[in-house]
Amino acid sequence: MGGRKRRIRYYIKRDWILYAMLILPLAYYLVFKYAPMYGVTVAFKDYNIFKGVMGSEWVGLKYFRSIFAMDEFYRVFRNTLMLNVLDLLFSFPAPIILAIMLSEMRGVLYKRISQTIIYLPYFISWVVIGGISLQLFAPESGLINIIIRRLGGESVPFLTEKWHWLFTYCGVGVWQSAGWNSILFIAAIAGINQELYEAATVDGAGRFQRIWHITLPGIRPTIVMMLILRMGSLVSIGFERPYVMGNTMVREFSDVISTYVYRVGLESSNFSLATAVGLFQSVIGMVLLVLTNTIANKIDGGGIF
């Protein structure tokens, strides 16, 4: 034990500049991420906005009990899971495929230009995307449906029928994020030793065989890491996307935890209830994260921790 302590001291002494540099980010986390966490106690209190977080009375698990007694909560929880799982199915493989396609491209100029164009949607706000999708997918006045009708088909209710809406929701998500998420995979592919490809070519491997046997195994650690990160956020969902993309016709599917928390917490001023829902969501998220990591470790030791 003593030896270990001495070694730590030795490392600190040797790399003190690096440790000193770490102080700022650590302070950032402490001040902006940990300190506000005392607000989580609101979930266990009868929060009175005039008395403040500290002055409100403790009520134990009252709000958790009322959450689990509410049918509405199960609906938003189910929707959150459903939208995220679908999103995972569609928008997780998309950037990988995109990255492989881009890296197989020959013309450098063409490749750079298409990369930039593919990234761009990521920087458009969801509110704007919501407006664009309304212009494109609306059943009567939407561009796509006008074309379908002119070609003699029937209008497709992309936004107004819940099952079609799921498809639209996922598709728009892929369009928005695939380019941006592919950056990581492109970087991973660039890191694969080129000699492997040359050797495979000499051995007579075709393009698809090279992708299957070299590229994909080469980026497997990256894929697993990204998957674990995604699993952790499976029960948490952004506010803007379901809020902007949803409408009253598809509320049965588009009402998720974040919109629920907004409605109950901010619009109806039930801060304690909303915090309790948020806390529950975080706990489930952490359980999922640890679970995925354990599985990844069991399979081939590729977990993050």
Binding site: K33, M37, F50, E72, G232, M249, L266, S269, G278
Partner: protein, 542 residues
Amino acid sequence: MKTKKWIAWALCVLMVMSLLACSQGGGTSSTPESSSAQGQTSQTSQPEKEESTAPSGDRTHLSILAWDLGLDGQLPLGDNYWCDWIQEEFGEPNNIELEWVAMPRWEEVTTLNVWMAGKEAPDIVYTYDINVVQNYISQGGLADLTDLVAEYGKQLSSFIGEETMEYGVFDGRQMVIPSPRPVSGIVGSSIRGDWLDKLGLPVPTTTEEWYDTMIAFRDEDPGNVGEQNVPCGMGMQEISFGYFNMLYSFVDPSLTQEDLTLTYPFLYPGYKDGVRFLNQCYNEGLISPEFALDTDCSKMYSDITNGYVGFFTQNLLTGYKPGSYFDTMAENVDGAYYVACDPFTNSEGKHPKLSNQPYGKFVMVPGFSESAKEAIMYIDWLLVPENLMRLSLGDEGVHYTVDEEGVFHINEDYDGPDKLSANSNYEYRFIVEDVWYGSQEATFKNWTSACNNEQADIQFEMAMTDSRQDPWFFPYFKKAVQSEAQYATSMQDKYKEMFTILIMCSPDEFDSRYDSLVDEFMTLYGNEVCEERAQVWAETMG
């Protein structure tokens, strides 16, 4: 190797914890943070210099909320003739430094909650939401105004009236000041006059006539607009706004205010037939096909201005006002005009129409405010008729002229330094819902004369007859209904969901869906809310 693993572990824990904190923030607190930041910037932009002058002498400080409506022609808040005038007329004699605090109109409740929680709300705040008021009262967050009103609020009781002031009394104490709302009419319907002329049809006066007219509009296409033809325009704006009149004409007229408050609308006798009628109209292609996606009615208004819409129900009179969307339509389509119309008839032959509550905003003074006395003094000053009239209209001969009949002619092009802010100085005359013309009669008279269109008078008359409130969605209780406060927004959203589904579903599945949706609603919120409402009603009204 061991150390490395240790550090890796620590980092991972750190990351997970930060994720936890992040997702926590993403759900519950990110929105208030951003909105409070917004609120703060507008708050601290001017006040800082004022606060620095405050310590000199016994000058008190009074901050007042001003909703930012986002309209063209709004004057820069705190830096215009009218703020200076108020400061000079009210502030200086009483040694009070006034400050105006902006808040976007659509953040009415959310930002107010954040401000209240942070104890940084202005001394005078207001909201339309009674649940918010009851919530604040039950949490002990509002100043008791009873004694202050008695001492400093002479104008309050005479201008607003004892009866209306009573709406601000909770548990025998004057906790809020309700703003008076003399005009109860709120919605009006219009139908395309040129279309009727072309088809040789009269203005429909019953539901059946209306239906036949809509069918004729659909089949004959008098406007020659082809695929764009919308016989009856509709959008999903505020609850019960555009379709209340139609639905309520089906409801049993013998229902009392109590029945309407304690039963869910979908369960009123006759309501189902009303929804079924809407469903039929929708399936026959009479209603805007995309109404469910048109959450702000912008599509409907653009259809109206393009001359595609035959009939619609919206805010009373706004279309007839000079420069409003009817004028735009007349420019776009030759000879197009709307006439007032009130077709939906109930079993008694009456035309029930949505009306406002007799009160408007609830004006409150937060409990932590140190200027409650000054706040009441200010509201009292504001309600002095001359002050209020000058604030909402300006000066005679400069901003407006009055003809011998007592009709005000507003000089719309006036562009002097004392030009009014948008919507007749809305942010400074917040205490009254409508422009104040000096007396009740003058206000009624000028309400329609500004439109300069006889149809406006007709529509106004219609809106004032047989009007009735919507007590389910806008109930008034003397005591907080806990479940109501919890579910109010959810219930409105659920209503809109049910409403759109039931109108857009096919007629064969209408009955089964109606029953299952109502069942679902009742188990989610309805039973609990109805039960508690009945209990509170018995306690306070019985």
